[in-house]
Each structure stands twice: as C-alpha cells, then as structure tokens.
Amino acid sequence: MTNTGMFFRMLFSAVFRRRSRAMMAVVASLVGAATLFCLAMICIAVPQQMNEEMRAYGANLIVTPTSSTTSADKAGIDEAMVEHTTEMVAAKGSEKHATYRYENVRVNAAPYVMAGVDAAQVKNLNHHWVIDGSWPSDGKVLIGRDIADAIGLKVGSRITIGYRASDNASSSSSSSSSSATSSSNDTNTDADANGSTSSQSQSSSGQPTQDGRVSSDIMDTSGTEFRVAGIVDTGGSEDSIIYATNADVNKLTGVTRGVDVIEYSAGANDLNALVQSINDMTSMHVKAQQVTKITASDTRIITMLQTLFWIVSLVVLVLTLVGVGTTISSIVSQRRNEIGLRKALGASSVAIGTEFYVESAMYGLIGGLVGTAIGYGLAQWLCVAVFERSIGFNWWLGVASVLLAAVVAVVASIPPVHRATRIDPAVVLREE
C-alpha cells in the first residue's frame, strides 16, 4: 500500500467508521445545500414564471407601420416584414405575437371596427380575455361585449356585416392605427405614442367614436352574414371590436393587404434596445413602441421578488456556514487527542490540516450531492404546487451547489482545524 492509499484509508475510516459523527457533518451540509439549491432554483424559476404570467396580460411591444407607409399605400405590414420583425424580436428572447388588420365596417348601417386576426395567435397572446363561446373561425366572428349588448347579440346569433370602401378610403389606415392603438390604449400603451396616434386618428376621421361605433348613421344594412362564435369581454377597447379571421376580412373587403399592428409579448431583457434597433431600421417602414406600464410593473415585481429571494439565500448561506462550522468544530474538538497523538507520532501541522480539510470537503460533497437532490425535489414540488409547472434541473447550478457545499464545509473547518493543529502533543501525555 502506498502512502496515498493509506491517506484515503484513514479518510474513509474516519468517515465510514465514525458514522454518527460523520452523519452530523453531512446532515449540516445537506440541509444547507438543499435550502440554498431550492432557493436558487426558485430565484431563477420565479422571475421566469412571473415574466410569462405578466406577459400573458397582453403585449409589451407594439409595431405599427410608419406614417409614410400608411399614407402612401395603406398596404400595412406585409407578411415578409411581419416575419422579419418577429425574427428580430425572437433573436432577443422568447416571443409571442399576434397581428391585427383593422377595417371600418357597418352592422345595421352603424359603423364598427373589425379586426382580421389569427385566432390562435390572439388567444396565445391574451390569456386574460374572457370569451363566452369560441374564438372566430371561417364564417364566424368574435364580437366585443359592448357591441353584443348594443345590438342584442348572443353566441350563435347571426350578424350581417357590410363593408364600404368609402368608409376606409380616407382614414382606413389612420382609423386602423387609432383602433390598434386604442385597443392597446387600455392595455397601457406608451402615453406619448398613444397620444400622437389618437389625435391623428381623431383629426383625420373627424368623427368621434363611442363604443367603437362612429356616430353617423347612414341607413345601409347590406353585407355578408356571419354567425357569432363568441363574445369577448376584457373591460377594454377590445369590447368594441368585431374579430374575424383574416380570410373572412379579405373576402369581405375584397382586398388582401398587410396588417396594421403587430403585438408582441417579448421576453427580451432590454426592451428599449429592441425598440431602438427596430426603429433604427428605417428601411423596414415600421415603428416599434413599448407598452410601458406592463414592462415597468413586470420588471418592478420581478426585481422585488428576486431581491427578496437573494436576501433569504444570503441569510441561509450565513446560517449554513454557522451550522456547518459549529458541527465541524465540535467534531474536530472531539478529536483533539487524536490530533495530539498524530503530532506526537511526527505528523506536521500541514499533514494534519490536509487530512481534516479533505475530510470536511468529503462531508460537504456527500451532503452537497444529497442536499442538491433534495433541494431540487423541494423546488420541483413548490413550483408544481404554486405555479403548476415543473422546472428542469439546472446542471450548472447543481454543480455549483455541490462545490459550494464542499467549500463551505472546508471554510467552516479552517478555524477549528487551525486551532487543533496548534495542539501541543504533550497534552496527550500530560495526564498523570
């Protein structure tokens, strides 16, 4: 047997033949590692989850065509540009989006705003929408609660929607922008952007709107018949809009064109930079705006939560250090005679220190491994219980947790081992 072999033989003997004491040190490390890992996992998972939850309350970024585009050809944002913009947003983080094409239509001669949407996109973006019935599909529309109440419509009712090019000729884009922005107005669009677009729409249409209905009455009830698939109730401007599939809007208007608004729920860390980068690309002919209130409240809550968790983690780390330190200190104190004996046999302080530090590291590693596994189980259970979703194991965090447990155990053992290695070997012989 080599000296290295003997070193490990002594080490394993100390750990496995003194199980109860070794168990104390392992349990101290285990509790610390489990608590820290669990908290760290939650520190990472909660903001992610909160971010997703907050983003379910609508868009935090809105992209509209620039005014030059809208006045020039009223073509909106074409499909390729939607794709390109989406790629830019996706490059900075996760994203969900929905596109809206707005048109002025008439129902029983009264003007309303109709939005052509992809139902799946809108549903995915706006979890807070309360739908009575179902989402729009071909031949079926989703109408706002205010419209349903005004006309007396229910789910399954028939509605005739008319389209007049003249209604949209002078102000289609601007009223579309108006609707788009007003739709996001209640979802807290950036005040400046909103203000300017609203005033533009007001001035261009020259017709004040109420509940999405222009207050002019021209008797014309012709149009295409749709069935009411559902009624949407958000408490916002969505309640005054008729939602139909893009195909139905194309068919109704006889014109296929680009969209007026793209709403994004973007996971980018720096939303300002993303907005800036989109706006800097003038060749795209689109303008990006942040939904400031959503972003700000989201960031504030997440920052508060993160700060809280990190403070708790720090407290736990200090308590762990104290706990492991006390345990290891007690274990080392119990072995004072053995340390004195080893010194009497010729062991240097360095040799004894190495033995005890490696032993402490081993306690930390074992405790760290088991503790990390338990911590993951706890974090998983908490996330399932609170957020109803599971979290994946973060390997980097796992390795860091195990190593930290070992380092804490070693650091905690430095003072008692340092004291022990200064033991005068004569103490073991001093008992006459």
Binding site: R17, A344, L429
Partner: protein
C-alpha cells in the same frame, strides 16, 4: 561511551512551580532507565522534554548529540518520528483505525507504509490474529501491545514509555515487560516512566524524582553500572538546593515507596 541522551541542568518552570528542577542526566545507547516518583513528581514533564514534545525553561537537552533547543517545530517532529517510539499509559490508539492501521499510521508519518511489516510488528507482540480489529474490540493489554508495535515499527533508537503497565492486569503487565526485555536485549534504549516499583526494578538503572527534584539513583544491574562508569558515565545530579536532593557526584540510594506500599512495608 556515546551518550544517546544528555540533559544539562534542565528545568521546567510554571510560574512558581518547578515541575523539573535543574536536572542533569546522561543515558547511553542501549540503557534501560526507569524514572520513578509519585504522582506530580515531574516524571511525565521530564519525559515530554526528552520526547521533543515540550521544551525546558532552562538548560539543554541533547539527543544523539543534537541540541533540541536549536530545532524548530518541524525539526522536532522529525526527531520524534525518526528517533523515538512512544508508549502511553492510555494507549492513545486512533479509535476508528484497526490495529494494523494504527501501526501503519506511524509508518505513514515516518516514511512509507508497509502493511506486511506492520503485520510482522503485530506478530512480534503476539497480535497478528487481532490485526484487523478496532481498538474497541481489543482488551487493554492488547491495546497496549498495539501501542508498543506502533512504537517499534520505525526501529527507533529510544523507546519512551509513560506508565506502560498502568492500566494493565498482572498477566498483561508481564507480557509488556517481556517485550521490553526483548527490545533491551536487542540494544534499544528504553526510558520508562513509572510509579510501579516492580516495573522500575526491571530496568538497569532507576532515578527518583520528588516534586521535580532528583532525590535518588540506583542500579539494578551492577555490570551495566560498571560499564557505564567505565565509559565515563556519571551519576545523575541536580543543582536544586533542596534537602535530600542528589546534588553531588555520588548517587543516593532509595527504597521504592511504592514497592513498600505494595508489599506492606516488608
């Protein structure tokens, strides 16, 4: 004659207490010396100073011609592991290591671990079949024999034994003393600290301490005494000005009080 150990007017003073008071002593290689005295007489303090585990407040200790006061802690540890084998009254075996592992610990700190050699050392003290037992599974006598095997494993020039039979019954005491006899016959220098007169009487030479002061010296082996004196060896002495102290060049004989106690004063 080369002296393995030379104590030159050494004292160990704690405040007003002189645990060892101005003692001079020479021990040649191969001698078996017993340091006797009652509890608190300074025997163990003296042994600690000889064993490089404590330093004298005054005076000088020379081991194999090297002055210990000139050495630092690391060098003292080297002297301890290379020259000295320690046997303790309370055995001091590492509780979570088996008998053979306890012997190997001494090898580990000395040079290279050799399990076969460690087993041979245990065989020498009659414990080969108990080699893989933990100390808690051994009797007191067996534990002391493991302690002796550990002290022998690095072939030390000096065996320092502190009350080696203090915790043993008569049977085991005899086994341990027989082991010391064998070691002595092989030329190992042995210094035994004891308050047991029977153990002390096995030694060639005895010195007696009382409250740290040398109060007597006697030889149990006249041939050894003659050889010692012929080689220029001198009696132990003390500079302490205390009544009854052995201050001069002449050894003062003494009767073992402990022996008297054991035999009822006969």
């Amino acid at each position: 004659m080369d002296m393995l150990l030379e104590l030159d007017h050494i004292s160990k003073i704690y405040g007003d207490l002189h645990a060892v008071d101005d003692l001079s002593l020479t021990v040649p290689a191969g001698q078996w010396l017993a340091i006797v005295g009652s509890s608190g007489s300074g025997k163990t303090t003296l042994m600690n100073m000889i064993g490089c585990m404590d330093t004298p407040s005054r005076g000088s200790v020379k081991l194999e011609g090297r002055k210990l006061e000139d050495l630092n802690a690391g060098q003292l540890a080297d002297v301890r592991k290379n020259l000295i084998g320690l046997v303790f009254q309370k055995f001091y075996l590492v509780p979570h290591l088996t008998a053979v592992e306890n012997v190997m610990v001494a090898q580990y700190y000395h040079s290279v671990v050799d399990e076969k050699q460690a087993l041979e050392a245990l065989d020498r003290v009659g414990l080969k079949d108990r080699a893989h037992h933990l100390p808690s599974q051994l009797s007191g006598g067996e534990q002391q024999r493991v302690c002796i095997a550990r002290a022998l494993i690095n072939d030390p020039k000096l065996i320092l034994a502190d009350e080696p039979t203090g915790n043993l019954d008569e049977k085991n005491e005899k086994i341990v003393l027989d082991l010391f006899r064998q070691l002595h016959e092989q030329g190992t220098t042995i210094i035994v600290v004891t308050h047991d007169a029977l153990v002390a009487s096995c030694a060639e030479r005895e010195i007696m301490l009382n409250h740290g002061v040398l109060v007597g010296e006697k030889w149990n082996d006249e041939a050894a005494r003659a050889a010692y004196e012929a080689a220029g060896g001198r009696p132990a002495s003390t500079g302490a000005a205390v009544e009854g102290a052995q201050t001069g060049e002449t050894a003062i004989g003494f009767a073992d009080p402990t022996k008297a106690a054991k035999t009822g004063g006969e």
